[in-house]
Amino acid sequence: MRLEYHVVGRDFQAAGGAAAKIKRTLRQIGIDAETARRVGIVAYEAEMNIVIHAYRGTVGIDILPERVNIYADDEGPGISDIALAMQVGYSTAPEDIREMGFGAGLGLPNMKRYSDELEVESQVGSGTSIRAVINLPTKEGS
């Protein structure tokens, strides 16, 4: 199944709402707690990246029998150096956002850490697309 949510740039009031809804559904489906947590973290970071950096975008997940795909597409400034953005602590977030406690330069590194596959595509001046995969644990025995 697919869950998709619109995210508005700079809307810190609603920020985290999409990830919270995703976590709620995963809990209802009965996906194991640790996997649900990882999906929640990746979706949250993707959502926050849009809130902090982009004008608008969507965050969504596809739940498949063996994995969860997470995607995020935004209209925004894009990332000029993806390799640099993947480094812990590197951030282009403006000062006012950092003062709010966001933009610590952990977004993409966290997404990489908690997902099994991560692809980031970006065009400067146009936007960024992220695709992440989290595999579901295979059933042991039987």
């Binding site: 199944m1 869950l3 985290g16 990830a19 919270a20 976590k23 709620r24 559904t25 809990r27 209802q28 489906i29 009965g30 996906i31 707690a33 640790e34 649900a36 947590r37 929640g40 973290i41 949250y44 739940i63 029998p65 966290n110 908690y114």
Partner: protein
């Protein structure tokens, strides 16, 4: 598996079927059906939030009554530190203990002293802990239950040591059984509790095995009896054994102060706790070492079974803490006296804390996914007002109830109105129709013209 016991319950006659409690329940455990609130046993955490928010006082807590004292040869009261906060700043806590004896207990073992032990166990556990990231105190039973139901990924982060209540029960029975040379089974230990969640914990733990506490009596039930006796009770008074930091566990922040853990986060009030747990689940706050989370505002002094306003209770308790002197080498003495360091295993939390999948839509994952898809569809067709008139806390919860066969879409008053409107339009259409014999300008024409 037997029916899950819950301390929190509904008084049917008092419930008027309003929607206040369903809106405020942190685990969405309540629905209003047929004009009465219904509590889902699997989801309820006994946090007491509904007791506090019900204007009709239709929610209450089952606790043990003093009549149970006669079931045992020897009975020990285990007063929560919060009890001391209920009688004003000037009251000598030793008089409170003496009043408990006068009510019918044979002996006292302060839970504040158990808190001193729990502090020691917490510090020892944190020293030995291998897992990285914040460790969460398991002292508040409503928070533990909340984690089991809503945050199962955080179960591993709970500090698996006995609560002050359990530590007290264990040591009290051990000592008395040696001293009086009677079996532990003949000794009854009763927690004087500020909250319903402890009542539930004691009942459930006793169902699953032997537990050192036999029952829980609410502070509000003994309050009057103690208050009456305190002014005139004569010595000898039982001596207060607990340290001020042990007594301080009765209010939020007390655990952190007692254990002296620098990187600590203290949070109270169940909705604030949920907010912090959400962040912990997201891997945030990873530099924090210790999280003290309490379901009630103010901590145990704010428990649903206390009498005073939580902030006044807090002030009273802090006055007592400030007045008392910290004994030197408290933890060394405790360790020496009780041989704690070699008995850490005996103070492991019981019962085991396991995930409670109370939100799962179906045992079968693919069926659960189908249901989740249906929920998305149903929720998109609901008005999104989250008014609660249907008896579910918000539109999404109604959608879940509809998909689970526990409600129908016309339970939504706006949906119902929509359908009535459609029906009314159809009726009007039909009412306008008249038989050909009555119609003017009938254009029936002869064939062939």
């Amino acid at each position: 598996m037997g029916q899950l016991f819950h301390s929190v319950l509904l008084i049917e006659e008092k419930c008027r079927g309003c929607t206040r409690c369903i809106k405020n329940c942190p685990t969405e455990a309540i629905r209003v059906r047929a004009g009465k609130a219904r509590i889902n046993a699997e989801r309820c955490t006994d946090c007491g939030e509904c007791i506090r928010t019900c204007d009709n006082h239709a929610k209450t807590a089952i606790t043990d009554s003093l009549s149970r004292l006669k079931d045992f040869e020897h009975v020990i009261a285990l007063p929560a530190p919060a009890l001391f906060s209920q009688f004003g700043r000037e009251v000598d806590p030793q008089r409170v203990l003496a009043a408990l004896i006068d009510i019918g207990f044979d002996d006292i073992f302060e839970v504040a002293y158990g808190a001193d032990i729990a502090t020691f166990l917490t510090v020892e556990y944190l020293k030995r802990r291998r897992k990285r990231g914040p460790a969460i105190s398991a002292a508040c039973p409503a928070v533990v239950r909340l984690i089991q139901v809503r945050f199962p990924a955080l179960i591993d982060c709970l500090i698996p040591v006995d609560s002050p209540m359990a530590c007290s029960g264990k040591l009290a029975k051990e000592r008395k059984s040696q001293e009086l040379e009677i079996p532990k089974e003949n000794i009854g230990a009763f927690f004087i509790t500020p909250c319903p969640a402890k009542v539930t914990w004691v009942r459930e733990a006793n169902k699953l095995g032997t537990f050192p506490v036999d029952g829980a009596i609410s502070i509000s039930d003994v309050y009057g009896e103690i208050a009456k006796r305190v002014p005139e009770i004569s010595p000898p008074y039982p001596k207060l054994k607990a340290s001020p930091t042990g007594v301080g566990w009765g209010r939020s922040g007390g655990e952190r102060i007692a254990a002296k853990i620098a990187k600590s986060l203290v949070v109270d009030g169940i909705h604030n706790v949920i907010d912090v747990l959400e962040q912990l689940e997201m891997g945030k706050l990873s530099d924090i070492e210790f999280v003290e989370a309490q379901a009630c505002i103010g901590g145990c002094v704010g428990g649903a079974l206390t009498v005073l306003n939580p902030f006044i209770g807090r002030m009273n308790l802090e006055a007592l803490v400030d007045k008392s002197e910290m004994p030197p080498n408290l933890f060394e003495e405790l360790d020496k006296g009780l041989n704690l360091r070699n008995r850490l295993g005996e103070f492991a939390i019981q019962p085991d804390i396991v995930a409670v999948p109370a939100f799962r839509l179906d045992q079968d994952v693919s069926r659960a996914i189908t249901k989740a898809e249906m929920i998305e569809k149903v929720v998109s067709e609901l008005p999104g007002l989250d008014c609660g008139s249907c008896g579910s806390p918000h539109c999404r919860a109604l959608a879940e109830d509809i998909v689970q066969g526990l409600a129908v879409d016309t339970d939504c008053v706006l949906k119902l109105r929509e359908e009535i409107e459609i029906l009314a339009e159809q009726l009007l259409e039909m009412a306008k129709k008249s038989p050909p014999a009555l119609k003017e300008n009938n254009t029936f024409s002869k064939p062939g013209e």
